[in-house]
Amino acid sequence: MVPVSYYLAISGILFTLGAMGVLIRRNALVIFMSVELMLNAGNLAFVAFARMYNTFSGQLFVFFVMTVAAAEVAVGLALIVAIFRTKNSINVDQMSSLKG
């Protein structure tokens, strides 16, 4: 039986990688993927704890997160496509039209 702490460590590493990706990368798609990575890090932690406490609520949450992530992907990609069409770029630093 692999101890829970291992899963948590991997989850922490994945989360950190995702957070770093969001903060550092300028490509919207990559940022998007990094967000997904962070979500999945969370999912991993949920599943690990669910197994540990032998309950289903953690697993249930994972389903919710995955649904939300899917919806997010749908909306987010649509936005990115729309932005790309008008700006020919998906560099987030250039998305400053609303800045005063």
Binding site: L23, I24, V92
Partner: protein
């Protein structure tokens, strides 16, 4: 009031003396536009004639029933104790006036049918024919209100009404001067007449106020009934009322000092001068004094003053008349002078003599004026004829030249061209000069007789005035009708048509026979019918001593009149003045004649003393006091200006901008400085914020883990 005995008589007709002319003028206003000149004139004349018929019927009724009858008509102003009614008074005095007004008025209406027919054509506005008759009828109505009213207020209504008609008719040719040139002159004359009359009316009005509060009524009988009581208790009331009324009289009857309007009033068409400014309206003042006899009779000093004023006017105006060149101006000053005779008579208490002279004067002065009108029109016709002839020769160059058809210096020898006019004028002049046995002799003699008895100074003044009267009338006759024509126009003058001369013949016969109205007792013989007017008016004025012919008084005045005519013949007829020659009196009299010629500069003096100062004062009040000071300086500058200063300078610039604003601005500036420092962290990149959040989370987590 014994009303039952008046049944079968015509007293209730009295409102119609007013309403007939009103009906006439309404017909002419409404339908006159579609009717011809003849019809318009006839309707107006018929209206005046109907009023005359009504007056005759009233006179007949009074002869049957000599008591005063009051015919109420309507209530006018009723407030508390103030009760003024439209009521008519029929007594011998008012009916005498009605007869004169409507009788002479009707003749003048008929004359005007012919006169105005030509006048509107010479003046070039045919449309005014109808208007003339409307005004003339209105005048008759107003004059009837004046003489028939039963209270001072009714009298005042007519009094102002005739003033209005006088204004309208003097200014009848309002867009020209007397020579037909475009000018404000006639309009100014009209305004002058109205305002001089208003000054007089002011006196009358105040007299009315005093009468009401002292006597409690305006009704004649009610006022007169309380005269003895008031005269005993408050004599000053009588003095004030009579003297203030005298101001009104001076305005209306052209006495010193308000006579100046009457000569200018000659700007009106000649029938107007005859009717309003000689025969009727100007005698309203005399009527007022006679009507108020109970008031005037109680105070001897007032009587003395009135008589002196009248005599002074008579003399003063007579001197001016002798220096005038305009045929109508001479007559105008003569009218003032004769009115002075009447006022003097009324002042002396010789009321019958005053009314007698009023009546005869109405006859012969109307005759003279109308005849002067005939002369002027005759000259106009000559001028017209000449202009027509010349227009064919030299393209009308002559007609543009200003020609004065009323200037006696342009006349001369007219008795050949206008014989009827000449004879009529002669009769009128002799009547006015007081030559036996014409009307003027009897009436003037009665005044002189009374004066010689009671007021010697008045007698002397009037005697000299009578001398002047004969002199200026003689001068006029010689200058107009004798000698040779001094201008080509006078050579071509033409006689007037019958419609004008026939009324004049009627007036001339009245001027001849007028003396019969009140024949004096001669050599102790009282002819049947003598003292007619004395007895007639006695019913109203109380018993009056019948006049007797005093040989000395009558002789002196007749001799003087003849002497004056002789002098005038010496000066003006023995060697007729030639064209362009100055008046023969000019040299010997020097400055005196200069004064007479220029009316003693009374107009200029009034201009200097009253009119100009009033103009200056009102200009000063309007421009300087009201506008520059009160409107611009006080309101705009002081009130609005100081408000603006307080609001913009004090409150806005100092209190607000440097106080409250400065504080608020400082707060703002501080915030701004702070934010300049803090804005460094606000770079707008989401990831920077996310990093901050992350750092925060880590910090908080670290704190929680490590504490």
């Amino acid at each position: 009031m014994p009303m039952q005995t008046t049944s079968g008589l015509f007293f209730s007709l009295v409102p119609f003396v007013v309403f007939f002319p009103v009906i006439g003028l309404l017909i002419n206003i409404i339908f006159g536009g579609r009717m011809g000149e003849k019809v318009v004139g006839t309707i107006a004349s018929l209206a005046a004639g109907a009023a005359f018929v009504a007056s005759v019927l009233l006179a007949y009724s009074l002869a049957m029933h000599p008591e005063t009858v009051i015919v109420p008509f309507a209530e006018w102003i009723h407030i508390g104790t103030l009760q003024i009614d439209w009521a008519f008074r029929v007594d011998t005095l008012s009916v005498t006036m009605m007869l004169v007004v409507s009788g002479v008025g009707t003749l003048i209406h008929i004359y005007a049918i012919g006169y105005m027919h030509e006048d509107v054509r010479f003046k070039g506005d045919v449309n005014r024919y109808r208007r003339f008759f409307v005004f003339l009828n209105l005048f008759i109505a107003m004059m009837m209100i004046l003489v028939s009213g039963d209270s001072y207020m009714m009298l005042f209504v007519g009094w102002e009404g005739v003033g209005l008609c006088s204004f309208l008719l003097i200014g009848f040719w309002y867009d020209m001067d007397t020579l037909g040139r475009p000018s404000f002159a006639n309009a100014n004359a009209a305004k002058k007449a109205f305002i001089a009359n208003r000054v007089g009316d002011f006196g009358f009005l105040i007299a009315g106020l005093i009468i009401f509060w002292a006597f409690g009524s305006f009704q004649f009988d009610a006022v007169f009934a309380r005269v003895p009581e008031i005269a005993a208790a408050m004599p000053w009331v009588i003095v004030a009322v009579t003297l203030l009324m005298l101001v009104g009289v001076a305005g209306k009857s052209a006495q010193i000092p308000l006579f100046v309007w009457l000569p200018d009033a000659m700007a009106g068409p000649t029938p107007v001068s005859a009717l309003i400014h000689a025969a009727t309206m100007v005698t309203a003042g005399v009527y007022l004094i006679v009507r108020s006899a109970p008031l005037y009779s109680v105070n001897h000093s007032v009587q003395y003053f009135v008589a002196t004023l009248g005599a002074a006017t008579a003399l003063f105006a007579a001197t001016i008349a002798a220096g005038q060149y305009d045929i109508k101006k001479v007559l105008a000053y003569s009218t003032i002078s004769q009115l002075g005779f009447m006022v003097a008579a009324a002042g002396m208490g010789a009321y019958v003599a005053a009314i007698f002279h009023l009546v005869t004067h109405a006859f012969f002065k109307a005759l003279l004026f109308l005849d002067a009108g005939s002369v002027i029109l005759g000259m106009e016709r000559g001028h017209h004829h000449l202009a027509h002839v010349h227009a064919e020769d030299v393209h009308g160059g002559h007609s543009s030249e200003v020609f004065d058809p009323g200037d006696m210096r342009n006349m001369g020898g007219l008795r050949k061209q206008m014989p009827v006019t000449y004879w009529l004028y002669l009769i009128g002049s002799l009547a006015l000069a007081g030559i036996f046995p014409l009307a003027g002799f009897w009436s003037k003699d009665e005044i002189l007789l009374d004066a010689s008895k009671n007021y010697p100074h008045v007698y002397w003044m009037l005697l000299i005035a009578a001398f002047f009267t004969a002199f200026y009338m003689g001068r006029q006759i010689w200058m107009v009708f004798f000698g040779k024509p001094r201008t080509a126009v006078a050579e071509h003058a033409e006689e007037s048509p019958r419609v004008m001369t026939v009324p004049l013949m009627v007036l001339a016969s009245l001027s001849v026979l007028g003396g019969l109205l009140n024949l004096a007792t001669i050599f102790g013989i009282t002819l049947p019918g003598a003292h007619l007017l004395t007895e007639w008016l006695g019913h109203t004025l109380g018993e009056v001593e019948p006049g007797e012919l005093d040989l000395i008084v009558a002789g002196v005045s007749t001799v003087l009149a003849l002497l004056a005519l002789y002098f005038s013949w010496l000066i003006y007829a023995r060697k007729p003045i030639a064209a362009g020659q100055p008046d023969p009196l000019k040299k010997p009299l020097g400055p005196i004649f200069f004064g007479m010629e220029n009316k003693w500069f009374i107009d200029e003096a009034y201009q200097f003393l009253f009119i100009n100062p009033y103009r200056v004062i009102s200009k000063f009040l309007a421009d300087k006091v009201d506008w520059a000071f009160w409107h611009d300086w006080f309101h705009d500058r002081v009130i609005a200006g100081s408000y603006i200063w307080v609001s913009t300078v004090l409150l806005d610039q100092y209190a607000d901008q440097r106080g409250i604003d400065a504080f608020a601005n400082a707060l703002g500036a501080g915030t701004k400085r702070l934010s300049t420092i803090m804005r460094v962290w606000q770079n707008g990149f989401v990831r920077t914020y996310a990093l901050t959040v992350l750092v925060g989370v880590i910090a908080i987590l670290g704190y929680l883990l490590l504490k």
